[in-house]
Point group: C3
Chain length 545, copies 3
């Protein structure tokens, strides 16, 4: 009964790719980004990763726990295993090549001697004991709502126990959420805005320099490329984590963001003489259509993810892609397909608008207080007005109706803006700022149609607010990245358990918050989740990217 | 205590009209169609029906007498009466001329000697005892939801006890549901499709023979006539059953089907030179308007049948009639009234679309899994797009928006089509196939407006799918009619009890599933419904129609 | 046991302004209008009100109560107080200058000797004991629904205890609800109707005399002025009561009524040559926009007053203002701002229409039975159709769609009109009649566009119904004012307690329904609300206005 003797600190994993690619421009931060690319055989060979596991073992008896420091990559407390060169098992459940598959592959290749048989057995036993339903299935939508809270459903409720250790920093890829594409939305929409300010005749008096568009566009391209590559790596190495993000009722909407950002990039391409080929548009609209079919189909026909349950403002992201596509397509000279996407968007926007306005009692996760997520209300009608104006060939009454709705919603939020204070920053805020840019863009178009002092003032004012907001969010991002070092906190929303934890688990969890102590707890807490169970805890190399 | 002795086989009822009229073309089946036209004096004389009741009575001892049959006017268990020539009482509650009325009429005509006084007394006593609320009232909407399940609310829950015997075949008219008009919808819309394929210039390259339209139209006319006549007979003889269908939350929407089918017939009339008079249109739109007022009024102002409770995809049938009427009216050259019906349809379609998409938790009966009923989603927008195109004089943007919405919904369902397998066939499926024809029709019109290879391919493809689907459903219908002989199963959805059965009833019902054994049950099962109580089983003459 | 001995008639308060201004034309009634302007120092001096409290006290012992007659102005039962010249404390909680503030002011001015110290102490004790949360906060939306019932949420549930005495007539201002502006809506819309009947070419055959418009308009102006002044006095003297009306889920919508009535007045101004300046329009639309932002913002972002909770037909009043504004603005030659208001109105009307049609189970207060409030359903689309026709410059298809929707809803209600019988009249009915006028107006415009016998008949018929309805409601109002004398009953909906009364309170309240007995009841009923506590009850002077 002396589990705590076995403390193994193990440096596990090296970055599988150059740090300057991983971190990118916006990620050159001093905070810890531990790129522990998992040790699946295929990836090991392909990417040339060597696992330099350096277990540090210390005798510990009845020790009150070395409280694992949140945010540090090294984590001790390995109670029973003596083996050096060990892989970090705790994140296996989210890995593309997770434990069982890994072992199967290893066995096939005769590599089973790499893992001691005892460990294999214990692993299997554990899996059969408690992970049977947890391992490869994704939590239901109801579980997400039960286990998480907050406007973005990203905070674990106090009664919940995460499947991943909460008190240490996870691998960087696991902490890199899909909402990071919000940054791309924010910046690339700015590029669009500056291009429009430069080109629209009504704004000619501003004499905007084309350089602004140029610079912003290239920044957007670079940012989108970096974010895409990093997320692709996550798809490759932690497919389970991506799958859980895709099933997350709020996060799933951000899967539209990459494609919308690309549409923004195509729309905001600096020189109009660069003729973007129609194929780009088709290429970008196919995934949007597939996501539409998937998401809207779930709203209508699924029991678990029906709209009256999952409706939240971030659903607007699922709608706005259609309008952006329609806008760009019409701009490119296409005629029928933009109307198709506009129609699909409009029908589902109407449904969403009514549903969100009603605030059905079943929409549990709608935040009680206002939140930047509400600004997404403004995005869809403003982009839709631009799309309809482009489809119709003029800023007609239909486009005006949509535009004015977005303007009213915007004013309605702005007069309550002091309610937005005191909220925790997250990367998703970038997505919540692009609606401001959209409404500014629509106002510029509107001012070209109705050209008077009031509309020009409005256009300039809204553009200014949009620019300032983006600068503000940028500053906050930089602050969180460089000063606080918490731009990418542990993404607990993908680490919830599939089933409601038993009361005993919660109790044990609350009593014994650290892994070191929990393992010593008692014999009857065998099921206290991976925290209590994981006997080997690996450290992660700090990637100074 | 010898229950099995008391077997009474009674040949009851003769078909009241020639079999070739009843069965029609699609009903020439070997399965049992027992046309037991009830024995009300008036109908007896009119239709010349003779009831050859041959009660076989056997001695019964220690039998607890005439266990009062809950809710039925029928009298099985004939302990005291010796009279031959007895009527089947069990279906009286659904008869237009049910027991009490019958007796009153009999009394008026001095025919009371036909029924022994004791029976009359016992009947009255029974009625006053337990049938006070059951007899002539219709179950509330809530009861339908509580007692039935399935996408069409046509399956009795296991905890429920039907008021009619479940384990024998009911009279044919009682088993003939209003949803049989779905067949008319399916076939007549095909006639329309072939007419359009023949006449639209964009489809000229197909060189469709006018004969297809001719043949299909005449088939549709004949089918509609037959179904109408049979259902009219049901209205005459089993008005209570019709009333219960009208109060059934799903079935009520099928009351639009006869009129919509007629509109389809008028629209698909083979030779355009046959000028259909406007009066036909007015004649057909009046019942639709009345139903609109009734049904939509219930949605809005009724507590029991409000939309948040009764919303289900079959409500689309209640909306689509307006669009079909608008389409036909505009086609006939009317101007304002089609817009009226289009407006009414559009407003309520918007409400319905949002409500169904939300899948409110109060919409209990929405099927968990996909079901052909979901194809009704496609019908309304596609017909609406055609109607708006006809009203506007061109396939303009408004019509395109509606058309594309229907196309998206169609694709959204088709990609999930493998979920539709394994469902029990019902006649209502015919109604669920006409949306496919509608969308094919709209696509043909659209292809005439936007004439390119893609749209032509789409038009031909969707028409092909529609034709194949109808052929498939036809084959299934024929299979069920001729091979399985279960095209018209007992329609339990009109035979639910008005009140929740007591637990003792359910228990007794579960314990004693067969009528033969039930009569021996015990003294404390006095209220175990007609199933448990009826010791006399009537046979039905098989009508070889 | 001699209850009837204790008759105290007390003449309290004098009207603070000339009676002919207060009562106005429609209020020249013999029923009791007690204008007890409260005794705050400032108002006393300003308006010169003298409280001539003449308490007549008689000995009472164990008397069972003189059951106070609801609606009568005489109130007996003055058990403990001997002081002459006393202020009525019971309405202090709704006064702008309520008790505590009053005393503070008094103390500041050295006027505390006016009130005996004992009374002050007792008052403070009472406040500290039970009024801590009741005094200056407004009940939550949930409380309104819990405590009140009826389509207008104006009847106290039997389990509730009001904070004001239920069994005597309150001061007139407290009984003057915001829904009194409904009268202005009803009459001024009639002025508009007659102006349109006179000016539209399609109605020229009626040869309507311009005098009708003239007379109605001036009556409307006078009525609006009187109602506005009286309500302004309520705002000044009973701001708490106004605040409670503003938080009342039904009443809040009537705060749009004053501005809409003014818009009607501007629209119906007799001579078109009187050019109303645009500034009027801006001046009237600013409060409507502010109310829009407030109310719609609550629908969307508030937890307590979200739409799925507060939706009721009177919300239409909150939408119709936008359409009226758009109509008038477009009529005045403005272009963009009318579209803005139309867009805002349309978006929220769509949300409201769907929500009300669904009748969500959370919308508790929707009346089970039909009610005149349902006629508000007709108002928004008919006004919207006129607005869109004016914005578009012609009665185009969009306007027709809206018009036909209103027509259908109208017919849908009219065929159920016999369900409206037997309802208690209230001033709000005036607001429920203006939709009839609106639909008549829209029909006249439509008849100018589509000029045939049917439309002309419809226009004349609907106008006739509207006129007859208004006359009917007018007659009912006069009847209630002059004959019954209960036009302004106690407005219990502003007098609900903030918290659910304890069961003991309810019990005590039910057991001891009258103040006379309650004071003698027992020591443990100290908290039985103001009814049981108020030792001094004042009579009110009858204002023969």
């Amino acid at each position: 009964m002396a589990p705590m003797e076995n403390i193994v600190v193990q440096m596990d994993g090296k970055p599988g790719f150059p740090a300057d690619v991983v971190g990118g421009r916006t990620m050159e931060t001093p905070f810890s980004v531990s790129l522990s690319v998992p040790a699946s055989p295929s990836s090991e060979t392909k990417l040339g990763v060597h696992h330099l596991a350096v277990p540090l073992r210390q005798a510990r008896q009845h020790s009150l726990p070395s409280p694992a420091v949140r945010g540090s990559a090294e984590v001790p407390a390995v109670p029973r295993s003596n083996t050096a060169r060990k892989r970090d098992r705790r994140f296996d459940r989210l890995r593309t090549f997770s434990g069982r598959l890994d072992r199967q592959l290893s066995t096939l290749r005769g590599l089973s001697q790499e893992l001691p048989a005892a460990d294999l057995e214990r692993g299997s036993a554990k899996i059969s004991e408690e992970d049977t339903d947890d391992d490869h299935d994704v939590p239901t939508a109801g579980r997400y709502f039960d286990a998480l809270e907050g406007a973005e459903l990203d905070t674990l409720r106090s009664t919940e126990v995460a499947v991943l250790p909460k008190d240490e920093l996870w691998p960087f890829l696991l902490r890199f959420p899909i909402s990071a594409f919000g940054m791309c939305l924010g910046v690339s929409s700015q590029a669009m805005l500056w291009k429009t300010l430069e080109s629209e005749p009504s704004m000619a008096f501003l004499r905007v320099c084309p350089a602004a568009n140029h610079v912003l566009w290239w920044i957007s391209v670079a940012l989108t490329a970096v974010v895409s590559i990093v997320y692709l790596l996550k798809v490759v190495f932690y497919f389970e984590a991506v799958r859980r993000e895709f099933h997350h009722p709020v996060r799933v909407n951000f899967f539209f963001a990459p494609w919308v950002a690309c549409l923004f990039l195509v729309k905001g391409v600096p020189r109009p003489e660069w003729e973007i080929h129609h194929l780009f548009w088709y290429f970008l609209m196919v995934p949007i259509l597939c996501l539409d079919l998937k998401i809207y189909g779930q709203w209508m026909s699924s029991g678990e993810r029906r709209l009256s349950k999952v409706a939240n403002p971030s659903n607007h992201l699922a709608v706005v892609g259609n309008f952006v596509g329609a806008l760009l397509g019409a701009r490119m000279g296409l005629r029928e397909l933009p109307i198709f996407f506009f129609a699909v968007g409009l029908a589902h926007y109407a449904v969403l608008f009514v549903t969100l306005y009603q605030r059905l009692p079943t929409n549990k996760q709608l935040p009680k207080e206002l939140h930047p997520v509400f600004f997404l209300f403004v995005a869809a009608p403003s982009v839709a007005s631009m799309a309809w104006a482009r489809i119709s060939g003029e800023f007609n009454n239909g486009a005006k109706l949509l535009y004015f709705v977005s303007l009213f919603l915007y004013v309605s939020l702005v007069v309550r803006v002091n309610l937005f204070r005191g909220l925790r920053f997250s990367l998703a805020w970038w997505a919540y700022t692009f609606p401001m840019t959209s409404v500014a863009l629509a106002t510029v178009l509107y001012a070209s149609e109705v050209n008077n002092m009031l509309t020009l003032t409005l256009a300039v004012g809204l553009s200014g607010i949009a620019v300032l907001t983006v600068i503000g969010v940028l500053a906050t991002t930089v602050y969180h990245a460089f000063v606080c070092g918490d731009l990418f906190p542990n993404d607990v929303s993908i680490a919830i358990k599939q089933k409601r934890p038993k009361f005993s688990n919660i109790l044990a969890h609350l009593r014994l918050p650290t892994p070191a102590s929990s393992s010593s707890s008692s014999a009857n807490s065998r099921t206290t989740s991976s925290i209590g169970e994981s006997p080997v805890i690996y450290g992660h190399e700090r990637a100074e990217c």
